[in-house]
């Protein structure tokens, strides 16, 4: 760091989420991982758009998707994003109990989302619209299923996080992990915007 930059920082130090300077490299590494994950999702979106009209005389999007169900899933995920945000804010003030409380709320919302998605998948498969039926359904289950799997792993991650915070307290390594987990969670909500904008809404239209 140059002398000029150092003196500029002396007057005003910006407090970031995360574990501080020592963990910046890991947090950048995690950001790079998220970018590669974004590329994976982008390709699954491209595959879906290419395949969406190939219904092979099976059921089409309009007969399978339900606007209310999708709206419910969207609301759960959006609420879980803001409750994770409240956990992040509480971690800035080192309020351990509050962080754990908001993380528990986030888990409940995340589990609710996964449960809604599983019930949707089970219902579709029961009415003969499983992934083997057509190119459209293969691409649908791959894209939405990959996102659901990410959310499920996020829920497991938050559960482990709560254990760490309870046992170790809000130390710098724990805060860095909480920050990275938060990036992951908020990133999944962004992917979901893509899913309802590309898959559900045009499908129902």
């Amino acid at each position: 760091m140059s002398a000029v930059e150092a003196s500029a920082l002396e007057s005003e130090e910006v407090v970031h989420l995360g574990g501080g300077e020592e963990f910046e490299e890991r947090e950048f590494g995690f950001w790079l991982y998220l970018m590669t994950d974004a590329v994976i999702f982008a390709l699954l979106f491209a595959t879906y758009v290419v395949m969406k009209d190939n219904i092979a005389e099976g059921p089409d999007a309009k007969s399978l998707f339900d606007l209310g169900h999708t709206a419910g899933e969207t609301l759960l995920l959006l609420l879980s994003s803001i409750t994770f945000g409240f956990a992040s804010l509480a971690s800035l003030d080192l309020k351990r109990g509050q962080v754990i409380f908001w993380l528990v709320v986030t888990i409940a919302l995340g589990v609710g989302f996964v449960a809604m998605e599983i019930s949707e998948f089970v219902g579709m498969i029961a009415q003969g619209a499983g992934p083997q039926v057509s190119g459209f359904l293969s691409a649908f289950f791959t894209l939405v299923g990959t996102h659901g799997l990410h959310v499920s792993f996020g829920v497991i991650g938050i559960t482990v996080m709560i254990g760490q915070i309870a046992v170790k307290g809000l130390t710098n390594p724990v805060k860095s992990r909480l920050y990275r987990l938060g990036l992951f969670w908020h990133f999944l909500d962004i992917v979901w915007i893509g899913i309802f904008s590309v898959v559900y809404l045009p499908g129902i239209l």
Binding site: L17, S88, H186
Partner: protein, 104 residues
């Protein structure tokens, strides 16, 4: 002595602002699809626009991305990912729909 300053979006107010904006930007396309007042093409355009704006809202309010406090390399990585996604998705759709057109 350094004075400590939070990133401007590290407040409950910022999260709630982001939440209300995201909720509005979700409600608009859902309501349009539900009511079906606009033409299909116009609805698709609104879905695309509100979707992109909502992604930016999430990046700014929830991932705290901005042009002053976010490290430059994080922004470059995001920009690079956007270029990759543009080439990969754009290229895929271009090739496949062109193929589809020629096979008809």
């Amino acid at each position: 002595m350094a004075t400590k300053r939070h990133v401007s979006t590290h407040t409950h107010r910022a999260y709630l602002t982001g939440f209300v904006l995201a909720l509005t930007l979700t409600a608009i396309p859902f309501a349009l699809v539900w009511m079906g007042t606009l033409s299909v093409l116009a609805t698709l355009v609104v879905i695309a626009i509100t979707g992109v704006i909502q992604m930016l809202v999430h990046l700014y309010f929830f991932l705290h991305l901005n042009l002053t406090t976010t490290p430059r390399e994080n922004l470059l990585a995001l920009l690079f990912a956007c270029v990759l996604i543009f080439i990969l998705v754009g290229g895929t759709l271009w090739i496949m729909f062109d193929l589809h057109y020629r096979m008809m």
